[in-house]
Symmetry: D2
Subunit: 338 residues, 4 copies
């Protein structure tokens, strides 16, 4: 059994990770941690997330910088479901010891330090780790992930977007003079578990935000290899992302070429499902799947692709499990699909 | 025109009051105030509540204890949509001047100081005002309200409950050995406009709270004249209250007696609607109505009454307007129903 | 008073129309009609839409082809909130008599009969009326509407889209080699008041539909004067539309030019509100407004415009009232904004 | 492996059963059936319930009376997630063969034929089977269930209510002169998967229904052993039931006696969770648990108990699995909790 802990288990992604590790046949959920500053330190997981009451009811142990190094020696696998700043600050202590690190924060996703500072609001000081970190887009970077000691698990919007766009980009099916237009709607859990007027029940109502300036835009562009227009929205539901992507295809691209590109990329992959109808959020909520469906207008060459994921699972926790599976030599979907 | 201001206009009830005063033919919406401590001071109403953008877009002027007295001399009518503590602390400065005060907080509803301290967590120091304050249950206390200078507008749950129960109690139709059982579900706006984990979109899900200890229980009991069991719940909707009330009727009470009691109480009242089917929240959301429907089981003598209101309107702002109408000699429903 | 009736008053748009006509100072709500086939015939409006119980509680009179002609002689103004087929079939009897007709269906919006048949599934047989009908985009076609006897009130998606795009198109700010990309999410009331598995509470979840083939696409293109990609979605809310529109601007277009275009189009118009933040559905739900906000990325020349309306009001009933106001010589927003 | 089929797999409870049987280590999901009349006959489960696309994607085979008998010989275990009328009509053919039958309909729950006809609207003609059927309240009737060949799995409201009330009734803690008052709110999935105006998204809003006449009232009373007042409500959420139960306790009942009664009934039972805070719907949605919490007012002797379940799982499918587990000699929670 691979001895595993989760740091930042009190948040929504941390809670999902706890459940996935708990039911995984090869990973042992050995401990849960939260920052010593957290109001949740000392409570049990089931107190904060009552769906786990009496079942995955481990205590949330306090952790700070002083015990990180020892921690990293005593576990095989550490999931970090922590704020960007915490992951950035703690990574030097955590890396290079025994444990493999799966970081669900944004601290190690953008390789360009200038761009990082622009979008995250603080300077990156871990050059070597930033260079070495592998981007954990599990259905595309299997080989790199299987050798990584630090995996930067992708954000929720990039996962939905890249899964839809990479087959097209890899096959040169996108007209390079038109940016792909990504419109995505996320459930409120994407904002994290915290008190905030913006995410209060009475205030939430479908709304665009971060327009032309969201930090997931460069992440998508970097790993896609071309620029995009990305407009995120907050939706009035708890979990899930629906991304509707409009692409001008390159000259003379046929429906068959598009179908071939998707099938070649995902045939036999139990996680990415090539649907036969437009996916809705509820088709994937609570699941590790990314559902895709598309339609081409042959007259104009415009293509619409819809991608649906659970933001807390395929957009966070279950993709982190895929990465951990790959790193430890298991099938990517182990413990996720049966 | 009756010169009117609203103190505490940044909250949900304050916003509704602004709209109602704005469209009232006899009240002039002259100014909006918030506490100097409020982060909203200096902003416009339309910035905080964008439904009013460009329309009722008055500034939220800062107010503190020093200018209360002058304020009360310069307005005819002041609505207080403030926290209990603020209403309690400020009332001495506000009362006894020119303005009539409509207080939407709980500071002057419970006459017994010991009970007040038990349920509100602080001592009441305004004995005279507390004794003189009139409870603004507008469909029942018309005469007292029309002579009051300080009206304690009822809470949302008590309004829904008392409107349903008072006709029964007044006609001695309730078996005095069984407490009426009130189960009520409120929309999240009842918790006010504030950042709080409990009212965040991701956390809200139908749940009981304040069981056997909510401060609206003594308010209901006092103004009904008999004890009740009151169990409030938070529901996953923005506004409205549905109260389902189970009553053991006194011996031999007939359906006709119950119907007579309700008709006698509310016939011709355009605000309380005696329905012919079970009301739902959406029937009254955004309206000043209290909808009632009931059914008696003649075999067992148990009666179920359902009462539905908009918690921010009949449970706050529109009832305050009813009170102001009565005080200034207008019909109770002026500006509310046309 | 202008004697007014509504045909099709049992649906959601019909109900909204009833409320707006009822409170309008110059229109008299004289009668409500439904098809003789309707299960609602003979019921009262308040039975079907209990928010109107006891208030706008007119009977829903049955109507069929035989009495249309007489009807049109006895009213000054008729609103048709009927299915496309009914409007198409009945219009010959209704037009050319005394009444001005406001048709909220899609029967007279698309001028090209071939395109109409393609998108509506039946042949158009009223050539003359189709040619004469005026498209009721109230904030743009004031003059034509003020002389029309048959107004085809626009669909909800086209209203949201055209209000956002026409100022750009009129000022040649759109790059003609890139289609504007419209992603819009509608509340479920857009599907009408009917039993359907797709719009049942348990099935609704954010989902695209009608992709690259929705009948509002040609309507938008025709009245905009350029082609668009339009992707509608069903959202898990009752009312409202949020349209997020991505436009590649023409070379060297500046922010100022865009602002000027919107201000020139809508300055002083109380219905179209140029916001200073991203509108959300709840800002316009229950209102006659169209809220707009936008952002340009000067580096890439892409512009994102968000447009929000209430689909039943600005997207149906309140825009029909605007048209009626214009036709009878009143200010466009009379009875809508005060 | 126990060869298992599900009849009525196209509905919501049938879909949940499919998932539970699929992942159960001892049950083999061998076939899914729907009525030959069903529009879903011939489709795959994943077409109708896309969460199962590509995973539990069995065809929905048509079944009618002619092949029931053969069916019952070829399976070990049959789940019936069918309408009451179908279960009633088909049971003679199904019973007495090889298969054990778990009936999720209401056809075999009420033993009194007169009461059955009153509440179900048709006469019961299977006297012997009705007498022999065992009521599948899994946490209470283990022994009977383990010997049954026909189990009438309880309704969702009775499961929530009886789990809360039986420990009190068994220990004589309820004042027999006051009926327990059950107020319960169910998610819309309780109404089944079908087109209906009442369960359309636009119409659903918290509302009481079936007041003093719902067919689950006699079911609760029969298996509790005392009469109750039961008021069901439809809530604006997809799944889950929250039952708030008010009980007048017998004279001098202490908090400790109540706690003892619940602990004695459920200590060590992983399905019924005695919580330390008020459960909400989301704590149990998607789970097999019944969560209980309570509070006594020692001054008045009134007790409030809240019970929360997932109506499709503990209120249908997972309780049916518990029954099947018991019948085949496994632990009640096998395949449900790990």
């Amino acid at each position: 059994m691979i001895k595993t802990c989760i740091i930042g288990a009190s948040g929504y992604a941390g809670a999902e990770l706890s459940a996935l590790v708990h039911r995984h046949s090869q990973f042992e959920l050995a401990a849960l941690y939260v920052s010593t500053n957290s109001a949740d330190a000392g409570k049990s997981l089931g107190t904060i997330h009552p769906q786990f009451f009496n079942t995955i009811d481990l205590p949330l142990l306090p952790i700070d910088e002083d015990n990180l190094s020892a921690l990293s020696e005593s576990f095989d696998l550490i999931f970090l479901a922590t704020p960007h700043e915490a992951s950035h600050k703690w990574m030097n202590e955590l890396c290079g010891k025994k444990a493999v690190i799966m970081d669900l924060s944004g601290a190690f996703r953008i390789k360009d330090k200038h761009k990082f500072a622009e979008y995250y609001g603080f300077e990156h000081h871990a050059d070597k780790l930033l260079a070495d970190a592998v981007y954990g887009l599990a259905d595309w970077h299997q080989e790199q992930i299987s050798n990584a000691n630090l995996v930067a698990v992708p954000g929720c919007y990039p996962t939905a977007s890249l899964t839809a766009l990479k087959p097209l980009q890899q096959n040169a099916l996108i007209d390079s003079t038109h940016f792909p237009i990504i419109n995505a709607v996320s459930g409120v859990s994407g904002a994290g578990r915290k008190a905030s007027l913006n995410s209060s029940f009475t205030e939430v109502s479908l709304q665009a935000y971060g327009v032309l300036g969201h930090r997931h835009q460069p992440e998508i562009a970097d790993y896609l290899g071309t620029d995009v227009i990305f407009t995120p929205h907050l939706g009035n539901f708890k979990r899930g992302i629906l991304a509707t992507i409009t692409v001008k295809t390159a000259a003379n691209v046929s429906e068959q070429q598009i179908t071939d590109a998707f099938q070649q990329a995902y045939q036999g992959n139990p996680i990415v499902r090539l649907r036969n109808s437009w996916p809705k959020i509820d088709d994937v909520a609570g699941t590790p799947y990314c559902d895709l469906f598309w339609k081409l207008d042959p007259k104009t060459g415009y293509l619409v692709v819809v991608s649906a994921i659970d933001n807390l699972l395929k957009g966070a926790a279950s993709q982190a499990i895929q990465c951990a599976n790959l790193r430890f030599g298991f099938e990517s979907h182990m413990g996720l699909v049966n």
